[in-house]
Each structure stands twice: as structure tokens, then as C-alpha cells.
Symmetry: C2
Subunit: 480 residues, 2 copies
């Protein structure tokens, strides 16, 4: 057990994660089995993620809307793959206002069907295209084995739904939103994911093609952290989404959908955290700086708190998210651990000597102990803090990317492949046949994660499993 | 029918409203009976409202969180008034993952019960108080007669839930949030509502006291536009929310809840709109300015569009929400009506003459026709537009407040009361007895809306209905 009495991350990653999520005040279980409560600290993190994503959605021409959570049951049945994929996971409302409903209502597991129904009414002509809408909401999938953030009965996410006049535009949109997710992951969450196309057996029920970003967690397992689907004309045909083209002929639309959820919070925890707790990337952290006043008597207290208040105001004025922990009942040491557990990127300690010297002590969360500490003059504290926040953001990205790369290998043969995926990612030639995927999964627990876009180019190798001619390379790993 | 082919507001307010909501692209009905789709234009308005409210919630110390939509059915039964109030309106999930559930789950109609359950786990000591949390979500109430924004099966809102150590603190919080709603209504939505305590028969099921803001709509009916509840110890006792006080003794908490919903969008439509369509208050409008380029040939088009682009960039740089309508297939006249219908506060027309004269024509939405038009020099356009947006905001508030006041009267006797409430609000002495309220409702369709906080002070009159000694004055009106 570490100082924050967390299970050791290296010894029991799973217990470390489960304990940390609750102890760091991110989330809690709800009273109905498998449901999640996101606590204010976790929700503020989610709000910061939402802002960072929403800005990118709007910059690429999307607007938000609100759609009902209830979907008539018959809708789900209209798209063949969709019904097969989602039927086992549905929550069904059968009673409303005290009466048995004639047609049961599904609580949305995702909104492609109700969107399809609605777009078929809204879209008349090529002038109505492209239609670019995003929803921020929660969805319900009846998961049996749940884990906070990663798999819960209800989770929060955004789901984008677009309709286009041509296949090319839809494919371009699908790839654009994959790039938005990748950019968000890299530049906001300090996670550089692998990205590519999903294999047929791993794609979204109802999609022609699914793309995903796949991040490596601290235990070297993969986490699918965002998906973007080219739905082809599958939902357009199932829901009759047609438009009159410039030649006055009716055409089916081409649609896409894409989503990123609170699951991504799990990705951040498992990528950056350590034995002391969370390490949150500065760009998304609810608090970027925690200020701890240190004093022994009333005189010291007065001068320290005055200094702390000034510092606080100065940082707020410079758009730095800061909080003072002035609780009387806790020692400074307790507070250090408290905020280390919660992953605040920078701690500022202000004691009586600092007041006299017109300086403060700044401690980095990503480098625990003396090495991460420095004395900073009060005059330059804003600049130092701003620079340090950028440095920490970069350091986290670099550390995570190095970890990813040093645990990703191209196998020489199947035996080597088995060794690699027992603890890491393998980038391996593959014949594209689902039977090899299944055999690999059964023998190693590793699944195909994604197929990099350019991986079918150049000289081909042979399938890592069956030795037949390969068509492309895919990442394989054990996954959440 | 007006130019925008809306039903006349004065002749058929109800048809005007129903047509306008759909035609102005605010909302649409969903496929499941009584559900609502909020379209991008309506949702952007909601986002602006959310930001204006959220800023106020955070400034008063609240943080947001996410709570599950599913509540075990047994929870609803724990608070006696609550179960009576909400049981007839519940949507019940009985099947999950293909199996009949042992305990059915309720889709939240409001979250006091699940909050109560959770707060009882989170709150241990006086140090955990006050607990100040807000949720942005949607809730479900099985309404039979629905109307977009005003009454739908599912609606979006925020629900604040706080816990306190003393009655006084809870009462202070309840009144503070009422004031936040009032301030939001006045200063963002240009609606100055009446406010006060609800009568016992009109209060929230489970509250000791409910306060509300009550706005007068364009048809002189009342709309309850936000509520704030002092829940006393009702939920604390039903869910065992206790804390250890400074003397180490267990005490029950005092809790509050408060909410404002997408219903408020209905209030804005019905307060400010006219025969031409919506009139949106500048502070909340999705677009504050619409720019319409006007030209006859390719030469004119080139110079006008260049000028329009410069203007657009200038306004964006000054944080004005602006859009250019450069659609080729519509005439300027069509576009004028299109954006009048959608209530954009200012229209800027740019034609070839304007380009030459380095000026633009600015037209106010709240003053349709020549009177609302002026020529503004390009040099001072930012200042003019900014000033006009403030002027329009003030003018809307003034107009709505005058309308409210000229249709609110103190009755001399019951006959006079009946005349007043047939078309307006009556502020009348009342004995406080529910039987008078019921008789008034049966005879006039008017209900008690709210009791102004200081209305029991000074010389008392006699009850407008029964002539017995009155205890306070209340607003009475027909209501939505």
C-alpha cells in the first residue's frame, strides 16, 4: 500500500484502479445495479473534456441538438445488424402513467434509429445536406460485468450523426471526426492513441466501416477510446432518408455517426496515474494548481493567508484554475497526499519564510519528491506556473507515448506474437480472415484493435496465424 | 395569416404558438407519443441559457455532477407526499438485458430520492456541509396532454440539490436560488416575473415550502418558470441523511432542491413573440445579428460579399454572434421573413450603395418596418450594433414589464376578481384556506400562482372569496 493507502499499481492494477476512482472522488456506484454516479470532481473533469471536444465539433460545422431517450421498440428492429448487436442489451419501458404500453419503449442504447426516422422527415433536398448534428446525452446498455467509467449500465457521451449527398463526403466526415478524437486525445488528454479501421467482426452493428482510436493503458492492455462510423446507406435505406438531387432525382443519403464517452476518463486514469493516485493533464484538470498555506501560529497564519489570497487572485486573473486548501483540521502533509491522490498537476506551498523571501515552493505532481520541487519568486509566479503547466502536459504525453512504443512490437512468428500480446501490442500481418482473429483470441485473449489506414501498402507479409498471404497489418492486444 | 403565414397571435394565441415553435426550427415532436426533439436552433438557445444559469450556480458555490436516470422503485415510496405526487406519472423499466427485473426501475421524474440515498452515504460530519450540487439532465413525467416546451413526456432541465446543517441555511439557500432565477429571467431573458411562496396545494410533493417565479405570457396567462423548494427534513428523514455535529451528536440535515427547465423557452416565445414570429432577447439569441447581402449582378455580388465578409469578421472579433445568409436560391425579402420568424434581434442589409457609401442598413426585430431601420457608418458599426443589442434587450424587458403591470390588478370584490382573472393577474387578499382556492379554481379557472414574500405585512383585508379575515395576498391567474 502506498502513502495514500492505494493498492500498488504495479502489483494489482485492477484493484489500484477500482480503489482510486472512488477514493479520488471521481465516481461512485448508483443504487441500481451497475449504474454510476459521477461526483462533482469527476464531472468537472468531464465538463472540461466536453468543452474541448465541443469547440472542435463546432469548428467543423456541427451543432448540438436534443433527442428523446425513448425509442419505439419497432425502430430497433429495422436495421438487421443493429438489432442483432443491441437486442441483448436493451432496457425496456413497458409501463407508463400506470398503464401497460401498447408498444414498449426502448431507453436509447445509441440514437441511429431515432435519428434515421427524424432525418427522413427533415431532409428533402440536396440543399438540406450535409446535416451535421451532435448530441450530448447518456445512453443505456445492459452490461452484466460493470467497472466505473469503463463499462456501466448507463454512461455519458456525445454521439454525432451526419447525413451527406455522397459516399465520399460521408467517408471524409468519418475520417475527419476520427482525426478530431485523435487531436483531442493527444493535445488535451496527453494520450497519443493508435488509430485505424476496425475489423469486420469488431465494427459497429450497422456500420459499413468503423474507425477507432486505441490507447495503451498502464497495464499494457488496449482501450477503445473513441469510434467513428461510416454507416453507408444502411440506415438511410432502413429509415428511408432520401433527398432530391440537383437533377430532381431521389437519392438515398450516406450517413455517419461517431462517439466518445466518459470511458475516456478511465483512459486518462489508467494512462497517467501512479501509486500516489491520479495525474491529470493540466489542460483538462479541474484544478491546475492547489495552494497549501503552512503556518504554526496566529501571526504566521495572518501573513501566510494574506499572501495566499493574493497569489490566488493573481492566478485566477490569468485564467489558471486554482484552489486554496485552507482547512484547519488537516496538516499540510495530509493535504499534500489528498491532492496528490486527486492528481492536481501543481502544488504551491506558502510558508512564513516564503512570505519573507517573496517566493513560493512549486511542486510537480508528475515528479513526486524533491526532484519535482522548485522555489519561484512571487514576481514571476504566473509565468513559471504557466510554463510548468505546459511542461507537465508535454511530459505526460511523452511518457505515455514512450511507454506505448516500448510495448508495441512487430512479431517474427506466432510464438513471438504470443509473447508480445501477453504484455503489450503486436502490429502483425493478417490475412483478413475472421477465423484467424477468433483463433488468436481464443489462444491469447488478444483481439484485433485496429488496422492502420496505410497498412495494406508496400510489400505484403504472411498472416501471423495461418501463414497465408496477408492483406494488411493490424494491432492486436488484450483489451478492456 | 401574417407574412410568415403564422396564425394571428391576437386571434389564436394557441395556434400561433404551436405553429411558431415548429416553423421557427426550435423543436419537433419525437416518434414516441409526447416526446420532444429540440432542433439545433432551439438547442443553441438552450445552451446559451445553460451558460447564463451555470455561471450563476458556480458563482454561488455549486458544482455539477452526473446521477443515474434509473431509480429503484422502492425509493419513490419512501417519502409520503412524494409518492402521492409522482406515482401517476412514472415510466417504469421492467425488462433489462432480455430478462424481467426483480425490482422495476423508474426513469427519474426528479432526483430527490436518489440524491437522498446518496447524500446519506456521502455526508458524515458537519465538515461535509453544506453540500451544493447541481445536475443538468432530462427527466420523464407521463403527461397525457402535451405541448412543445411547456409539457412533454421528457424534458431537459437543471435540478439543484443541497444539504445543510440548519433550517436557516436551507431557507437562505432556497431564497438565494429563487433570486438567481429571478435575476436570470430579468437580465438574460428580459422577463421580470412575479415571485413568492406557493400555496400548500400548489407546492412540490415533499417540500415544506416551494417558492416560484411566475411570468405573464402574451395571452395574459401565468407560466411557472422556475421553482425553489425548502424540503425541510422530509427527505433527510426518509433517506436517513444525518451528520455528526460539532458536539458529536447525530443530526438530520436540512435539504433543498430547485429547478428550471426547457419550459422557460416557451416563456420567452410567449412573452416576446409577435405576428412575424419569435423575438429573442439579444443576450440569449443563437444569432444576435443576421447579415443579408443584396445584389443584382456579378460585379455587385463581388463587392457586396467582400464587404459582408469584412463586417462578419469584425463582429465576430467583437464577440457578437453573427451569421451571413448568402443562400443563392432565396431573395432578400424571403430572407428577411425567414430571420424575422426566427427572432434574430438585428438584421444588417448590405447592398451596392452601402458599399460605396461605407455604410450598412441596420433593422431592429423588435420594431418591424421603417421605424426600426437606420443607416450606420461602417466605421462605427461595432459600437452601433453593441448599443442596439443593449437597447433591444432593455426595450423587450420594458415592454414585457409594462404589459404585465397593465394586466395585473387588485380586485375590489369577487365580481371584480372574476373580471380581472378572465384576462390577467389578480393580486388578492386570501384567508389561506385551500377550500377557497378550490372554489375559485372551479368558478374562474384561475389558480393561486404565488404569495409575495412580504404580502402578509401591514393592514389585513378580507378574503376575496369567503370574506373571512385574510392572512396574506396572493397572485391568482389562469395558468399553463
Amino acid at each position: 500500500m502506498s502513502k495514500n493507502t492505494l493498492p500498488s499499481r504495479s502489483e494489482d492494477f485492477n484493484a489500484w484502479y477500482n480503489t482510486l476512482v472512488v477514493r479520488a472522488d471521481l465516481a461512485d456506484y448508483g443504487p441500481a445495479r451497475g449504474t454510476m454516479i459521477v461526483k462533482p470532481y469527476g464531472w468537472t473533469l468531464w465538463e472540461n473534456m466536453q468543452q474541448a471536444l465541443d469547440k472542435r465539433f463546432k469548428a467543423t460545422g456541427h451543432l448540438n441538438a436534443g433527442f428523446p431517450m425513448f425509442i419505439p421498440k419497432s425502430f430497433i428492429d429495422r436495421e438487421t445488424s443493429h438489432v442483432e448487436g443491441f437486442s441483448p442489451e436493451l432496457a425496456v419501458v413497458t409501463i407508463g402513467g400506470g398503464k401497460q404500453l401498447e408498444e414498449p419503449l426502448i431507453v436509447r442504447p445509441t440514437s441511429e434509429t431515432i435519428i434515421g426516422h427524424t432525418y427522413s422527415k427533415w431532409i428533402k433536398s440536396y440543399r438540406d445536406l450535409p446535416l451535421l448534428i451532435n448530441l450530448w446525452n447518456s445512453v443505456v446498455r445492459w452490461e452484466l460485468r460493470t467497472k466505473l467509467f469503463l463499462r456501466t449500465l448507463e454512461f455519458w457521451w456525445q454521439e454525432g450523426h451526419t447525413a451527406h449527398a455522397t459516399y465520399d463526403e460521408a467517408e471524409q466526415e468519418t475520417l475527419q471526426m476520427l482525426e478530431v478524437y485523435r487531436d483531442f486525445a493527444r493535445n488535451e488528454a496527453a494520450i497519443d492513441p493508435f488509430f485505424g479501421r476496425k475489423s469486420d467482426s469488431e465494427k459497429f452493428p450497422g456500420a459499413d466501416v468503423t474507425y477507432s482510436i486505441e490507447a495503451m493503458m498502464g497495464d499494457k492492455k488496449a482501450l477503445q477510446a473513441g469510434t467513428s462510423h461510416n454507416l453507408g446507406q444502411n440506415f438511410a435505406k432502413a429509415f428511408d432518408i432520401q433527398y432530391l438531387d440537383k437533377k430532381n432525382e431521389m437519392q438515398y443519403c450516406w450517413t455517419t455517426s461517431w462517439g466518445l464517452s466518459t470511458r475516456f476518463i478511465g483512459a486518462m486514469i489508467m494512462t497517467h496515474g501512479d501509486d500516489y493516485g491520479l495525474i491529470l493533464p493540466p489542460r483538462l484538470a479541474p484544478f491546475q494548481v492547489i495552494i497549501i498555506p503552512i503556518y504554526r501560529d496566529a501571526d504566521q497564519k495572518a501573513s501566510v493567508l494574506e499572501s495566499v489570497d493574493n497569489l490566488n487572485r493573481l492566478l485566477i486573473d490569468n485564467d489558471i484554475r486554482v484552489k486554496i486548501d485552507d482547512r484547519e483540521e488537516l496538516t499540510p502533509g495530509h493535504k499534500f497526499h489528498y491532492w496528490e491522490l486527486r492528481g492536481v498537476p501543481l502544488r504551491i506551498e506558502v510558508g512564513p519564510k516564503d512570505v519573507v523571501n517573496k517566493s513560493v515552493v512549486v511542486a510537480r505532481r508528475d515528479i513526486v519528491g524533491k526532484l519535482g520541487k522548485q522555489v519561484v519568486s512571487t514576481d514571476s509566479v504566473v509565468k513559471s506556473v504557466s510554463n510548468l503547466l505546459v511542461e507537465i502536459q508535454e511530459a505526460l504525453l511523452k511518457r505515455a507515448t514512450n511507454f506505448r512504443d516500448s510495448n508495441t512490437h512487430e512479431p517474427d512468428d506466432y510464438k513471438h506474437f504470443q509473447e508480445i500480446v501477453s504484455e503489450g501490442f503486436a502490429l502483425a500481418w493478417w490475412c483478413g480472415d475472421a477465423s484467424c482473429e477468433i483463433a488468436i483470441k481464443n489462444e491469447t485473449k488478444a483481439t484485433s484493435r485496429c488496422i492502420p489506414v496505410s497498412s495494406s501498402e508496400g510489400n505484403k507479409g504472411t498472416c501471423i496465424y495461418c501463414d497465408k498471404d496477408a492483406i494488411e497489418k493490424a494491432y492486436f492486444a488484450k483489451a478492456y
